[in-house]
Structures are given as structure tokens and as C-alpha cells.
């Protein structure tokens, strides 16, 4: 069985093999570079914009963990992102939870939702899997639409307090909040990197590339698939919950299926099945949306065009192309 990330993106094929020393060194240097960029970023760019990019980058990383390493194209990741943002906004506003607890609550709910939806969706593969995740996510959307007492309906949950971290440090200032978001992002990135290169990640890749063979080797493939699904949903939730605290808002946009499409686009632009691609993709797409905001509905058209071009001519994505060029997995 051939899956999307392995058959078609040459860069991903490179990523399957053992990571040799020079690659490991390259990755370590890149991590240090990213950390350095995170430290400098708020001083050269508008912190709220950088935080938005980081939240979406983490969301795209979570999505890519599932697609690139589990071979599962979920078209309903907005459900975990959006529901987590509602839970975190609600608990912070109405229960007065501190931001870190609110974010944890959102992440936990997203993981639970991922467990329920994932258990259903992994019963089918390929295109069916995509359709099922999409349909289940639409259920989450209708739930949000029809329970205004919890979600605020069309208005969403507004004026969410940023609160005090651990009850001590006020996050009202953008700079103060930025360090929390940067830490969450870096933590998420390192976690995903660790998972991908663990024995668990290797088994996931084996299942992605040839499920019957992995089963015949004695691996219970559905348990692995479910585990990677839950992990991905949880991290997507972490991103959504953090976003709710940053923008002090949780709304229907976050849980609508067009958000699921956006995260697919980010990953595709950056490079499917590459470790760092989703980050680049998120930077590109979020910046694009910011610059094109004045164009109104044309943004959708531009996004659609980018989608079509990526699928037709540019399947490796930006990072995938660089990886092919330097002949090292990124």
C-alpha cells in the first residue's frame, strides 16, 4: 500500500531511512537556529503576528505528523483545533482557570475527541479516511453552532482573559505572552521531532509504507495509527488552545472545515512529510493572508490557485525541494 507522503514526495522517501550523523547534526543546528529566531522575532516583527504564525505552525506540524508519518490524510483537523480553543476560552473566562491550565484543558479535550473520532476513522483508509474525518469534524462544527451557551454561537467567546501564568506573571503584555507561546511552540516541535525519530515513529512509517507487511511482522497497526492520531489531535488542540488565549477569542472560524483545508495547504506548501516544512508553510500562508487581507474574498481564490499549483507542479513543497537539492531529509 502506497501512501501520499511516501510515494510522491521524494523528500519524504529520504526521511524514511536511518538518520546519519551529518543529518542529525544538521537537524540540531536547525533547531538551534529556530530557537534563536524565536528569541529575535518579537524585536523585529509585530509579536501578535509572530504568535499567530507560531500557533498555525504548531497546528500544521501536528497535521503533518499524522499525514507525513502516519500516512493518514485527515480533512477534519479543525475539529481538534477549534474545540480546544473553545474549551480553553471557556474555562479561562467562566471558570477563571489560569492560562496554562486552560490550555491543558483544551489540549486534553482535543486528545479525547481525537481518540473518539480516530477510533472510527481508522477503520477505513485513503480517500474514505479523509471523507470520514471531514464528516466527523462537521459534526463538531454543528455542535459548536447549536450550543450557544457554551460556544457563544455566531459571536464566539470574546474577551477571554489572558490571566496570570501560574497565578504569578501577568500575560496582558504581548511580549510577556510571546515567551509562553514560543515555549509552547518549541516544546511541540521538539516533541514531534522526538516522536518521529523514536522506535514508535519508525513503526508508524513502516505501517504507512506497507501496512500488511508491518502487520505480518507482528505490529498491531491500528493501535499505532490510533496513537499517532490522538497525538496529532492533541497537539493540534494545544495550538488551538494557545491561539484562543493569544487572540482572547474562540469562534466558529476555527472549527469550520475551511480551517481544515488551510492546514492542509500550509503543510503542502511547506512540504509533506518533512519535519520543518509545515513551519515554512505556515509562515507563507499566514503572511499571504495578512498581505492580501484587503482583497476580501479574493483570498480564497488565491489560496485555491496556490493549492492547485502545489498539487500539479510543486508536490514536494518548499522544504521538500530544498531537501532534494541538498540530498538530506529535512
Amino acid at each position: 500500500m502506497a501512501d501520499i507522503a511516501s510515494t510522491d514526495a521524494p523528500a519524504a522517501a529520504l526521511a524514511i531511512g536511518e538518520v546519519d550523523d551529518s543529518t542529525a547534526r544538521l537537524h540540531r543546528n536547525l533547531m538551534i537556529g529556530i530557537a534563536a529566531a524565536l528569541v529575535i522575532a518579537p524585536f523585529v516583527a509585530y509579536p501578535v503576528f509572530v504568535m499567530k504564525v507560531l500557533c498555525f505552525a504548531l497546528f500544521a506540524l501536528a497535521f503533518n505528523l499524522l499525514l507525513g508519518y502516519g500516512g493518514l490524510l485527515s480533512f477534519g483537523h479543525a475539529a481538534y483545533f477549534g474545540m480546544a480553543s473553545y474549551v480553553s476560552a471557556y474555562t479561562a473566562k467562566h471558570w477563571g482557570l489560569t492560562p496554562e491550565l486552560a490550555i491543558l484543558a483544551g489540549t486534553g479535550i482535543a486528545a479525547l475527541l481525537g481518540l473518539a473520532f480516530g477510533a472510527l476513522a481508522i477503520r477505513r483508509q485513503g480517500i474514505y479516511f479523509a471523507m470520514i474525518t471531514l464528516a466527523l469534524a462537521q459534526m463538531a462544527f454543528f455542535f459548536s453552532l447549536q450550543t450557544p451557551r457554551f460556544t457563544g454561537g455566531e459571536d464566539g467567546i470574546q474577551a477571554v482573559p489572558r490571566g496570570k501564568l501560574l497565578g504569578l506573571f501577568s500575560l496582558a503584555d504581548d511580549r510577556a505572552l510571546y515567551w509562553l507561546v514560543a515555549a509552547v511552540f518549541m516544546g511541540g516541535l521538539l516533541l514531534i521531532y522526538r516522536v518521529i525519530h523514536s522506535p514508535f515513529g519508525q513503526v508508524c512509517k513502516a505501517i504507512r509504507d506497507n501496512e500488511p507487511r508491518a502487520i505480518s511482522l507482528g505490529y498491531r497497526s491500528s493501535q499505532y495509527k490510533l496513537a499517532v492520531f490522538v497525538l496529532s489531535a492533541g497537539i493540534a488542540g494545544l495550538a488551538g488552545a494557545t491561539k484562543a488565549i493569544v487572540f482572547q477569542l474562540a469562534s466558529l472560524t476555527d472549527v469550520h472545515w475551511s480551517m481544515s483545508g488551510e492546514v492542509v495547504l500550509m503543510t503542502l506548501v511547506g512540504g509533506l512529510g518533512t519535519v520543518f516544512g509545515p513551519i515554512v508553510g505556515a509562515i507563507v500562508i499566514v503572511s499571504m493572508q495578512n498581505f492580501l487581507a484587503t482583497l476580501g474574498a479574493w483570498v480564497t481564490v488565491v489560496q485555491g490557485v496556490v493549492f492547485v499549483i502545489c498539487v500539479l507542479l510543486f508536490r514536494e513543497g518548499i522544504v521538500g525541494m530544498i531537501a532534494k537539492w541538498i540530498k538530506k531529509p529535512l
Binding site: 466527523l136 474574498a297 481564490v301 500539479l312
Partner: protein, 295 residues
């Protein structure tokens, strides 16, 4: 006044009729998806946008060219079907050799483009399209009032669905099609022009969506988002029915519309999600779908 299960019959039958009408649209759309999926192995995410295009072409025909409903019912599917042929020739053909999921992504991108373009030109508020004079009014059946147009929609879609089923299952062209689905290389070796068949099949599937769009135009207001949310419900219908059979698409389409209508009577809160709940249950019990063959 008698009551059925605690619900006035007018309301019950009214909702059932509404359900049957929604079911007609589910059936035509999932049938179109099934036809396309059979030969191209692509889930046509643009299907909702193409349904919307059908409604818009009918509206344009009337308002720009003065072409009436009956002509539009024929012209709109042809026009939109031709755009489908162009899409297949220039875009889908290029990705036929790679993973099928890329087909889903490509058609998703196309849907964004088409919906965005229509939204820019016509806004999101919706345009009215009046019921043709011949189909105005209705019949009093005693237990309920049947608006003529709604009855027509149900009959027209049944006829189109059954005609499609007949073509695919009972004619020579249909047997070529089924052969090409099973084994395109071998079918080609027998001298059948499979690429042409693929192109025409996509065009036909798209035309079905557009036909549904024209039928829908007088019922719902014609607006750029009309297909976007419908298509996801249709995906759920497809999962429930299973992609294997043409009949499956038709039967599940109509019956899920009815189920949705019944839910609206007895527990309205769940009406938007009932199809997704059924999908979850079907997946637990029969992952291949009710009419599908195991993968």
C-alpha cells in the same frame, strides 16, 4: 384532528416531503461522485461547487439571456459538464498517476477558486429564482398539501438516477465503463478508448451535479455557498452507502433524506448531525458501508 405519534400529520408529512427532496439531492450528488470515483478514483471535492454552478448557470440563462427553466435544465448541465471535461483534460489527467489523495486536494483547490470567484461577483446573500409557471401551485392530498414543484423535483431526480443506473448496469456503454473500472489496461487492449471514456465520465458526473443545481435553484436561493456545506453531508452519505454500487448511492441518498426529515419532526436539535451519527454507527458495524464491498 388526528395525530400520528403525537405529531400533527401536516407537520409529519411536510417534513417527510422536505426530507425526500433533500434526499433527491443527496442521491444525485452521491451518484455523480460514485460515477466519477469508479473510473477516476478521485473524490471530486469540486462537486459541491459544480452543483452551485448549475444553479448559477440557470439563473444567468434566465436573467441575461432570457432562457427559461426548461431549457436551462438541459443547457446548464451541458455547459457545466463541458467545464468538467476541460478540468479533466488539463488538470486531473496530469495527476492520474500519483496518489489518489492528490486528486482530492486538487479538486478541493478548484472548489475554493470557483466559490471565491462567484462570491466576488455575486456576493454571499443569494439570488432569487422563481418557480416556472407550469409548476406553480400544488395539490391538496387530504392529509397534506403537495407543492407541485417539490413533487416534480422528487420525480425528476428519481428518473435521472434510474436512467443513470440503467445506462451503467444494462447498456453496452455501461459495460465498457465497468470494464474500464475493473481493469483499464486490459479494456484499452480490447480497443476501447479509455482516456476518452474517463473524460466523458467526469463530464457526465459533473453534469449530474449541475442538474441537481438547476433543480435546487427555485427551492433554495442561488448563492455561492450552497454547495459547500451540502457536499460534506453527501460525503457522509457516500461513506454510509459505500462506493461500490450505483444503486447503493441512490437508495442511501433518498433514505437518509427521509431519516433527516423524520429527525426534524421528533428531535429537531439532532437534524443537522443525524447523518453523521448514522455514519459513525455504520462504520462501527460495517466499515465498508451498507452497499459497499470490503476494501
Amino acid at each position: 384532528m388526528f395525530e400520528l405519534l403525537g405529531v400533527p400529520p401536516q407537520a409529519l408529512f411536510g417534513q417527510l416531503l422536505l426530507g425526500l427532496i433533500n434526499g433527491s439531492f443527496y442521491a444525485i450528488l452521491s451518484l455523480g461522485l460514485a460515477v466519477i470515483f469508479g473510473l477516476l478514483n478521485i473524490i471530486n471535492f469540486t462537486h459541491g461547487a459544480q452543483y452551485m454552478m448549475g444553479a448559477f448557470v440557470a439563473w444567468m440563462c434566465l436573467n441575461y439571456l432570457g432562457i427559461n427553466y426548461w431549457a436551462a435544465l438541459l443547457l446548464a448541465p451541458i455547459a457545466v459538464g463541458i467545464t468538467g471535461v476541460v478540468i479533466e483534460r488539463f488538470l486531473l489527467k496530469r495527476i492520474a498517476h500519483v496518489d489518489h489523495l492528490y486528486g482530492l486536494l486538487l479538486t478541493f483547490g478548484l472548489a475554493l477558486i470557483i466559490q471565491g470567484l462567484f462570491r466576488n461577483n455575486y456576493g454571499s446573500s443569494g439570488l432569487p429564482y422563481s418557480i416556472p409557471a407550469e409548476l406553480r401551485g400544488g395539490y391538496n392530498l387530504g392529509f397534506m398539501f403537495l407543492p407541485t414543484y417539490r413533487g416534480w423535483v422528487v420525480i425528476a431526480s428519481l428518473v435521472v438516477c434510474l436512467a443513470t443506473w440503467f445506462i451503467i448496469e444494462k447498456t453496452k456503454l455501461g459495460s465498457y465503463l465497468r470494464a474500464a473500472t475493473e481493469n483499464p489496461t486490459l479494456t484499452q487492449a480490447f480497443g476501447i478508448n479509455v482516456p476518452l471514456l474517463v473524460t466523458l465520465t467526469y463530464g457526465f458526473g459533473v453534469a449530474l451535479a449541475a442538474f441537481a443545481g438547476v433543480l435546487a435553484a427555485p427551492i433554495y436561493s442561488v448563492n455561492p455557498n450552497m454547495g459547500a456545506d451540502l457536499i460534506i453531508v453527501v460525503f457522509a452519505v457516500v461513506v454510509i452507502g459505500g462506493m461500490g454500487s450505483i444503486m447503493g448511492a441512490i437508495v442511501t441518498g433518498f433514505s437518509l433524506g427521509l431519516v433527516e426529515g423524520l429527525t426534524k419532526v421528533f428531535y429537531p436539535e439532532a437534524s443537522a448531525t443525524v447523518i453523521f451519527i448514522i455514519m459513525a454507527i455504520v462504520l462501527l458495524v460495517k466499515p465498508a458501508g451498507l452497499f459497499g464491498r470490503a476494501a
